[in-house]
Symmetry: C2
Subunit: 289 residues, 2 copies
């Protein structure tokens, strides 16, 4: 049984839902000493302080990371590399930087290169969230039994990987490691592609011209469930789509191919072919239920 994991000083760059929930989860586990936070939003920062999520608020990311043992960069995915570039010169020797971005290849490579000697970047992706945002929506059990995928480069310090692994485990998550490009291909398929499909579907149905009628007024529960993810934050998905562009284009092409295959079976009134197509899909779907 290893000693209980604990770090002295945690810097949260970004005190939104993910960053704040990580701090609360570590507090619950007794795994953190002092938490200092920074955020571009003064209101979020004040709330995080008032709610006891952070012990100290910093005026900048640079100030927040000073003397920190672990830096958790929990900002929008397209800003992570910028933030790490801004703070890297001020990192304490021996410190570890990790993030919570849902795209990993570019971030892991860029941020790993930005590390000064003696500091490590270990990319991470906790698979958790709610439809809410900000520190007031944070809670300590957000990551309980959820996956967190770490994407260390092959030359990453094994001790740093172990520390980040044990911290996420202390936060309740099930941790696994994955090569960053592999991560991006998998999440292009199971997360980014479904979002693109939902957005495109709602766009198509919303603009469909059926004798001038608003087709959406006829939608029922099934359509609502199917398209719920098209209510997600457009700016966040803009960033994810651009950052995971190569993998996502592959996934979209695979989906377009499947859709074209299905379209052809419908056009040819290929009953057995349609039933086979639907049955294979149903088996895949039932296999994950």
């Amino acid at each position: 049984m290893p000693d209980r994991i604990s770090i002295g000083r945690l810097a949260l760059v970004g005190v939104g839902l993910i960053g704040s929930s990580f701090a609360l989860a570590l507090r619950r586990a007794g795994a953190v000493g002092t938490v200092v936070g920074s955020d571009r939003s003064r209101e979020h920062l004040d709330n995080a302080l008032a709610l006891g999520i952070i012990d100290q608020s910093a005026e900048s990311a640079q100030e927040a990371v000073r003397d920190a043992d672990l830096v958790f960069v929990a900002v929008p995915v397209c800003s992570i590399c910028d933030v790490v570039g801004q703070v890297s010169a001020g990192l304490k020797t021996g410190s570890i930087v990790t993030d919570g971005g849902s795209v990993k290849a570019g971030i892991t490579e860029t941020c790993s290169r930005l590390m000064p000697a003696g500091s490590s970047f270990i990319g991470g992706h906790p698979i958790a969230g709610t439809e809410h945002s900000g520190p007031a929506a944070a809670f300590a059990s957000l990551f309980d039994s959820r996956r967190c995928i770490l994407t260390p480069l092959p030359d990453a310090d094994p001790a740093a990987v172990t520390t980040v692994t044990r911290l996420w485990q202390a936060a309740g998550a099930r941790v696994s490691c994955m090569e960053p490009h592999h991560h991006d291909r998998i999440f292009a398929e199971i997360s980014h592609l479904p979002h693109m499909a939902a957005y495109a579907l709602v766009h198509a149905v919303g603009t469909a011209d059926v004798e001038g009628e608003n087709v959406l007024s006829y939608t029922a529960g099934g359509f609502r469930d199917f398209t719920r993810i098209a209510s997600s934050d457009p700016a966040m998905w803009r960033d994810i789509a651009i950052m995971n562009r190569p993998s996502l284009l592959k996934s979209i092409d695979g989906f377009s191919g499947s859709l074209a295959d299905l379209r052809q079976r419908i056009e040819q009134e290929d009953g057995p072919g349609l039933e086979a197509f639907f049955t294979i899909a149903k088996q895949f779907r039932d296999g994950i239920a």
Copy 2:
């Protein structure tokens, strides 16, 4: 206030979830005298009798419709025309035939032509269902506050339209009338297309080759919600896809166009264009929430 609607003798051709629930809903409303049922499944027929859903079981559809005031054809969508063709010669003068199929143009035209003088066919589509099937899954409130769309031809007997409308209202539904092709275009968009998209997506993701790994093992709640409808009955969706082929092909083409538009914006790293696309879709989606 009109007199309370009531019919003497209802024939259910098909005592599955929809047919049996319709009978129970009319019983609850005191709107039906005797219910006679037929079904290709002996087990379903016995269950419907044992559960008091029907008062009498018939050996065939022809036997069931004898002396019936209303015939409800609640069989798979591709069998409706066949059933109506088998029973039309034995219909009582003044009787009305209706159905519960989710595709309406072909059925309404064919079945209306099959009616003998003095009988009317009024096509219907109750927008209700559960993931279960058979008479043992039926319940009286299935249609409460759900839409039921009737698709009478322009020359349909207005009195027959009124009777079917008032029976569905007695069963709890909100009834509206629609031209059958218009119905099929609308449901191609809001129901049939989403099912095709879900099947194609699960098919694509399930067969995606990401270094030989089973991508589906990483799916979380979002993917499961989005793809739930890909667990629907393959044989039913085979029939719907073929029967609503012209409208569905149009809908698929509209969706493919939206997807191609989105793909291009991703490929070109068009941040403002992506955000605009997602924002429009989100507004459509939030508008129906």
